[in-house]
């Protein structure tokens, strides 16, 4: 670590910022620690099963799971399950953003619209998405559309509330400064309200993305005939324990990848922010 003797371009940049940019050395050290953490977790899991620790006795070992995974990787249906689940999650998620963000912006910006709509959303919001399953099966023509609808609900309220809160948290100074600089209401909305609410909108997206995956699995178990959630359930019915764990890990990976995608989009959309 000879950082002081030969400052890298990144190091020079970091010196001029109020919050330093982590150097490459720090990033690779974090990656190393992360890998060590996963390895330790797998080792403890293997040890627990071999030693017949309580609760772990009937769990397949990491080796069994890896074997089951390898055989699944040769099965085209496994890839189809990934695809189907991703399509459901992103379908519901995108519709939730497309409706939730504009509604949240409008509710945050216009007090009259807020007082009109807020009570309705406040009553609907605490209803767990899964409580909507029976009704949505009756309502929607296909199981596919009812699954998408329930996923949509999972992300919709989160992004709506976060967008609304983001708009309301914008410091009055910025709006006043913009008006004094001659900005019209349309410019204030586009260049102050929207970017000012972005950090909160992306927080809502990240949380909402997590919710959609947990909703998806339950929805697939109840109403699906495919997908990663259904794969896990099917493995349970068939008594194939290693495949259950493969299904679980697949869902975990899928959720992680989706959240990473939100973070990447957030970092691109907000170059001024170091929050994501």
């Amino acid at each position: 670590m000879n950082v002081e003797a030969a400052p890298s371009p990144a190091g020079l940049r970091a010196r001029n910022r109020t919050r330093p940019v982590p150097g490459r050395e720090v990033a690779s050290a974090a990656a190393l620690r992360g890998s060590a953490g996963i390895a330790t977790f797998l080792a403890l899991w293997q040890l627990g099963v071999v030693l017949h620790l309580p609760l772990l006795a009937k769990i397949p070992t990491p080796a069994d799971v890896a074997a089951a995974w390898l055989s699944l990787l040769r099965d085209p249906r496994y890839y189809l399950d990934w695809l189907v689940s991703f399509r459901r999650v992103f379908g519901g998620f995108v519709i939730a953003q497309a409706l939730g963000i504009p509604l949240g912006l409008l509710m945050g910006w216009k007090a009259a619209f807020r007082s009109l709509t807020f009570p309705v959303f406040e009553v609907l919001r605490p209803i767990p998405p899964l409580a909507w399953v029976p009704l949505s099966i009756l309502f929607w023509p296909t199981p596919e559309s009812s699954i998408t609808f329930v996923i949509f609900l999972g992300a919709f309220f989160t992004v709506l509330i976060n967008t609304l809160a983001g708009v309301r948290a914008i410091d009055e100074r910025y709006v006043r400064a913009a008006i004094s600089l001659g900005a019209t209401p349309a410019i204030v909305f586009r260049r102050i309200i929207l970017p000012g609410a972005l950090p909160s909108i992306f927080t809502g997206m990240a949380v909402g993305m997590g919710i959609t995956w947990s909703v998806l699995v339950a929805a697939e178990i109840i109403a699906g005939r495919s997908g990663l959630g259904y794969l896990t359930w099917e493995a349970y019915v068939a008594g194939s324990f290693p495949t259950i764990v493969v299904g679980m890990i697949s869902i975990g990976l899928a959720g992680y990848l989706s959240s990473a995608l939100v973070r990447i989009v957030a970092a691109r959309a907000m170059p001024w922010s170091k929050r994501f």
């Binding site: 109020t18 006043r176 922010s273």
Partner: protein, 270 residues
């Protein structure tokens, strides 16, 4: 030519018998009462008063963010009814937009109003950034700048917008002493080159006298003008004037008026 330029943005602002009351849980509180003064074009008027006396409320009224309860504020013969680009506030804390680069911040006003071509505005913005010593920082975001640099960027943004009246609400508060002196110099140089109508609110009497042409000493809340003192120090102002005999005389006169108010507000609250 010069005459038409000046009359286009004459910027004579009159505060006429203004009062402002706020509704609170304990009833209406009068913050400003029977307050009258005039901001003359090409004059730097400075305002001092006991802290919390209502100076910021006055700024908000002049800017048009709030409406007076009674009385009126008149700019070049027309009553002020809302916020507009002819009056610009530089706030106590930075109001640079965090999501825009320094250059976009500085160019925001003219670009929003469609005042000139984009390339022309950006060119003027860059040369103003040079003038306040921010060459090379145009593409940074505000949070990558020090406090003093943010203030200078904000000054550049205010000046590029060419308001008829500039309202400075304790803009250098919270800066360390060195940076503050540097900012005073920057501000003085910009004012002495461009003039225009300026109101500078501060809680530092020394700063007020060093910068201003005319001092308004305000009373405690509900505030009004207690004393008007002409600061007849020559321009351009230099730091050595801070130790001149004339400066000391004005300082003592202003301090006496201010101390009187301070003592009253202490005995009132105690």
């Amino acid at each position: 030519m010069v005459e038409t330029l000046l009359s286009a943005r004459a910027g004579r602002l009159e505060v006429r018998d203004v009062a402002k009351a706020f509704e609170t849980a304990a009833g209406a509180t009068l913050v400003v009462d029977r307050c009258s003064f005039t901001l003359e074009p090409n004059m730097l008027t400075v305002m001092v008063g006991p802290s919390g006396c209502g100076k910021t409320t006055l700024i908000n009224l002049i800017a048009g963010y709030e409406r007076p309860t009674s009385g009126e504020i008149v700019l070049d013969g027309r009553a002020v009814s809302a916020a507009g680009a002819d009056r610009l506030v530089v706030f106590q804390e930075t109001a640079l937009f965090p999501w825009m680069t320094v250059l976009d911040n500085v160019a925001f006003g003219p670009l929003s109003r469609g005042n000139g071509t984009r390339s022309g505005v950006l060119l003027r913005a860059r040369s103003l950034l040079d003038e306040v010593g921010l060459t090379g920082f145009a593409d940074r975001y505000p949070n990558q700048l020090s406090g003093g640099m943010q203030r200078r960027a904000e000054l550049a943004r205010a000046i590029l917008n060419e308001p008829a009246v500039m309202l400075m609400d304790e803009p250098f508060r919270g800066l360390d002493a060195m940076t503050r002196e540097l900012m005073q110099e920057h501000y003085l140089r910009l004012f002495e080159q461009r003039l225009g109508t300026n109101l500078f609110v501060t809680s530092e009497l020394g700063e007020a006298l060093f910068l201003g042409d005319r001092l308004l000493v305000m009373t405690r809340k509900p505030t009004q003008v207690k004393r008007v003192i002409e600061i007849d120090l020559p321009r351009p102002r230099e730091f050595h004037m801070l130790t001149s005999e004339r400066f000391r005389e004005i300082y003592e006169e202003a301090l006496a008026a201010l101390y009187d108010e301070g003592a009253k507000s202490l005995s009132q609250s105690g």
